[in-house]
């Protein structure tokens, strides 16, 4: 099937304004007749729930943590982009649009990206009004920095805790609506199924994580804002509870999964040590503004103390290969180069999977005090984890799974192919193409939540003849609850020999080695062989202790892993299908002589949207062709 994203046509500059005018509105006095469910209260879901509640809709919001303030968005450090052009350095909405389309390696929808760039400025205003303490200069104006290789300074930040401050802003707006009674908050609930009635999304089934009860909730529309899925790699920078579950359950009910193979591996993470590690820690890539990345030229020197290796024996490989961007080369390129250096036997530290990030030159240039002011908290964090002092010897870093550009397929109005199901934030696939630029995920989450969904949900709701007609007493709710109960019972009855953690580690290993930074036909086929084996082992040999009607964290981990074990296969099929290299997706068969990614625009300028066809079966591919009418397809070069 050929999918239509329903993006507005005509001049891009007016596309969102025209579309906004064309959309139906819901009469203010009618809004309270509609109930909207919002799954997830991170930046995207929190902002959406607060804004929709304020407009007068009845909103019920859900998160698995004990409070909406703890969503994984809280961990974002670096900053948020906007096209304010406060520093007058040449930025504009058009430039942010251009950079995002190009940065995404021409695999996103132009109109969606334009809208994002346009509303980016509103986000900053909104957050300032909420009291978000962005960094300011001595005159009291908002400060900007350049981030992730952008050639303009368009990143707003709040110390090293931008995500935290933005999330607390959204949480405060949400708290106000909870107090007003327009939003009902259900914390410690995990959505375990989407309820679809006659092809339309009408509700969700949740587990109450405290009591273990299976609960049904009806809604006239369901919004999923459940975040990212890179915990499919086991070790990642995501929070421990981040999972694919919400969007995977929707996929199993017929929603299409778009570009699941587009994952971002972040270059500046603390390397893995030992075998007991539970997660990886990211250090803001702002470090690359002052740190120089290198490995020894000669593998024989890898064991030496880095300070004993003279400059001429070091390979500053990013500066060498990308003289104009150097250490600020985009994420996908930096990550891949680090892997290459280590594959070449020149890695450092534990298992020789690390490269140096060296501040000696910067300290010499501006003094340790300035470096401390800029990155003090990151050096502190590094020392807590590694017991090494980054001022005295170079830090060690290695790439780690961090973000997914893929997600549920949505049209321009953020609606999936299941009517009534909307998807926001990292959970959808929309704007980042094959590679996301730094500081653009926070921007997307808040754009979707504050400034897109409040408009785009209206035409759907206005089209409903009978809001509230389908409630929890509908047989589909009962059926869904019974299925979820049965799955819990099944998981608890296996009582095998392996723990959930054992099997998640195995899956992670297979995914990282075969569907990670460099993918080939062989490695992907190997993964397609291994994943069903691990899945079988899980369903026959996992040991989930305890019972279902109380707090049971092992059971929670078990169903999340069960979903990863199914999703991993779809992700691998996508990677196998995409016979080109683009952004975060690198197929070793498709590279230039110099090892750069090679796109195939003729055959792959499309969104791959996959339809679930049963566990273990090959999913069906649907395509949404992408048109580039404003920005000319070009080779992304950072030389």
């Amino acid at each position: 099937m050929i999918l239509d994203g329903k993006a507005p046509t005509g001049p891009i500059e007016t596309s969102w304004d025209r579309h906004r005018f064309d959309m139906k509105l819901v009469n203010p006095s009618n809004k309270r007749k509609y109930k909207i469910l919002v799954v997830g209260t991170g930046l995207a879901g929190g902002a959406a729930a607060a804004s929709l509640g304020e407009l007068g809709y009845n909103v019920e919001a859900f998160c698995y943590q004990d409070s909406p303030r703890r969503a994984h968005s809280i961990g974002a450090q670096g900053g948020i982009n906007a096209a304010k052009n406060y520093p007058s350095d040449g930025d504009s909405i058009y430039r942010l649009f251009y950079d995002t389309v190009k940065g995404g390696d021409f695999r996103s929808r132009e109109a969606d990206v334009w809208r994002l760039a346009q509303v980016s400025n509103n986000i900053i205003d909104q957050c300032v009004a909420q009291g978000v303490p962005f960094a300011r200069d001595y005159a009291g104006y908002l400060d900007n920095r350049s981030f992730g290789g952008a050639q303009v300074s368009r990143t707003f930040y709040a110390r090293g805790q931008t995500g935290q401050q933005l999330l607390l802003g959204a949480y405060s707006a949400l708290s106000r609506q909870i107090k007003n009674g327009s939003v009902k908050m259900f914390a410690r609930r995990e959505m375990l199924d989407l309820v679809v009635v006659d092809g339309v999304a009408k509700g969700i089934t949740c587990r109450n994580l405290l009591t273990g009860e299976i609960e049904s909730y009806w809604g006239d529309a369901v919004i999923l804002a459940s975040g990212g899925y890179v915990n499919v790699f086991y070790l990642s920078t995501n929070a421990m509870g981040s999972s694919v579950t919400a969007i995977w359950k929707a996929t199993k009910k017929g929603a299409y999964m778009a570009n699941p193979c587009y994952t971002q591996i972040h270059p500046t993470c603390i390397p893995v040590h030992g075998t007991h590690q539970s997660k990886l820690t990211l250090m803001s890539e702002s470090l690359r503004n002052d740190g120089r990345i290198w490995v020894p030229k000669d593998a024989a020197n890898c064991e030496k103390h880095p300070n004993d290796i003279p400059d001429e024996d070091r390979d500053y490989y990013l500066e060498r290969k990308y003289p104009s961007f150097g250490n600020l080369a985009p994420r996908d390129i930096s990550s891949r180069s680090a892997k290459e250096a280590c594959d070449d036997g020149r890695g450092v530290g534990d298992g020789k999977r690390g490269v140096y990030l060296d501040f000696a030159a910067a300290i010499k240039r501006v003094g340790q005090k300035t470096i401390e002011e800029r990155y003090g908290n990151l050096f502190e964090m590094y020392e807590k984890i590694t017991d090494e002092n980054g001022y005295e010897r170079p830090m060690r870093i290695y790439p780690a799974p961090h973000y997914n550009m893929g997600g549920l397929w949505v049209d321009y109005e953020c609606q999936s192919n299941i009517p009534g199901l909307f998807v926001l934030g990292e959970a959808n696939f929309s704007v980042h193409g094959a590679n996301r630029l730094g500081a653009s995920a926070l921007m997307q989450g808040l754009a979707d939540g504050y400034f897109v969904i409040p408009y785009t949900i209206a035409p759907y709701l206005a089209s409903l003849k009978n809001p509230g007609a389908v409630k929890e007493d509908h047989p589909e709710f009962k059926k869904s609850a019974e299925e979820v109960e049965a799955q819990m019972d099944r998981l608890l009855s296996i009582k095998g020999k392996k723990t959930v953690m054992d099997i998640h580690r195995e899956l992670g290993h297979v995914m990282w080695e075969n569907v990670g930074m460099a993918r080939s036909k062989e490695s992907l086929e190997e993964a397609l062989k291994r994943i069903p084996e691990i899945r079988d082992e899980f369903w026959n040999n996992v040991n989930v202790p305890g019972e279902s009607k109380s707090i049971n964290q092992q059971l929670e981990n078990a169903w999340r892993l069960a979903d990863f074990l199914e999703f991993a296969e779809m992700m691998t099929y996508d990677a196998l299908n995409r016979e080109e290299s683009c952004g975060g997706h690198f197929r070793v068969e498709h590279q230039t002589d110099e090892g750069e990614a090679m796109r195939d625009d003729e055959n792959f300028t499309y969104v791959a949207a996959w339809e679930f066809k049963g566990v273990g079966n090959k999913p069906e591919l649907h395509k949404e062709p992408l048109k580039f009418e404003n920005i000319k397809l070009a080779v992304r070069s950072y030389k």
Partner: protein
């Protein structure tokens, strides 16, 4: 290293609960405290026993979900560190370690080390916000805010809402937590119009939820993983006094 753990085990909110001893052999000093517990849990599961339940999510010291009293101190003895960022190299071979949940009247224990902290959300809902609408706000640079003020607001805003301050306080007072939000918003021009109402509403909510009064023990500041300063409590008190002056005579804000 080899350690001995004494961990609070409690099946549910109604159960009595008790400390149970577990050996922790071959602990790697590079592990985090929670990774050490993961290993113990894996062992318990293999033996068919119920693993220890504890809250956690980001494991980076920012979400505020983890909440354990280690050897009598919320988040353990390392300064300015959440328990998820506490590493085993902070302990010595042969150590005995006591692990307990947050204890406070307003934090009922749910299971083992998991407590219910929803009363902290209720305090925020009482007034921890600026009542601006989505959209319809001025350009972000309309009102310059002196860097000093912005930095002060940011110092307060760093609170991760973990509740260690409350667990550390002999009165289970939530003053440090509440004052951080009051001070952040009262310092900024955006927060001033509602400053009186906010401090009154949040202080009332704090008492209604069963948190105690502040009698200046300052255990909160010592336990806080984010170094939130007790100077914000003084700020709250000033704001509270200010809010008691009838508005006609109140100094213009």
């Amino acid at each position: 290293m080899n350690l001995t753990l004494h961990v609070w085990r409690q099946k549910g909110p109604q159960d009595k609960g008790k400390l149970v001893t577990y050996p922790a052999p071959n602990v790697d000093s590079d592990m985090s405290f929670l990774e050490m517990l993961d290993e113990i849990n894996d062992e318990l599961i293999r033996k068919g026993e119920d693993p220890i339940a504890f809250d956690h999510d980001c494991r980076e010291g920012i979400c505020g979900m983890c909440s354990q009293v280690v050897n009598g101190r919320p988040h353990g003895h390392q300064e300015r560190t959440t328990v998820c960022q506490l590493h085993m190299r902070q302990f010595n071979d042969g150590d005995e370690i006591f692990v307990e949940p947050w204890r406070a009247k307003a934090f009922p224990i749910q299971k083992d080390l998991i407590v219910d902290r929803s009363s902290m959300d209720v305090i925020m809902q009482a007034g921890g916000y600026v009542s601006c609408h989505t959209g319809g706000v001025p350009d972000g640079n309309t009102f310059p805010i002196p860097k000093k003020v912005a930095d002060y607001a940011m110092d307060a805003a760093e609170c991760i809402g973990c509740g260690a301050c409350i667990a550390a306080c002999p009165n289970s007072s939530a003053m440090l937590f509440t004052s951080a939000k009051v001070a952040q918003l009262a310092a900024l021009p955006q927060g001033k119009p509602e400053a009186r109402k906010r401090v009154q509403a949040m202080t009332k909510a704090l008492l209604d939820e069963g948190f105690g009064n502040c009698t200046n023990h300052y255990e909160c500041e010592a336990a806080c993983p984010k170094g939130i300063s007790v100077k914000f409590i003084a700020k709250l008190n000033r704001e509270y006094l200010k809010s008691m002056i009838p508005s006609s005579t109140a100094e213009p804000v």
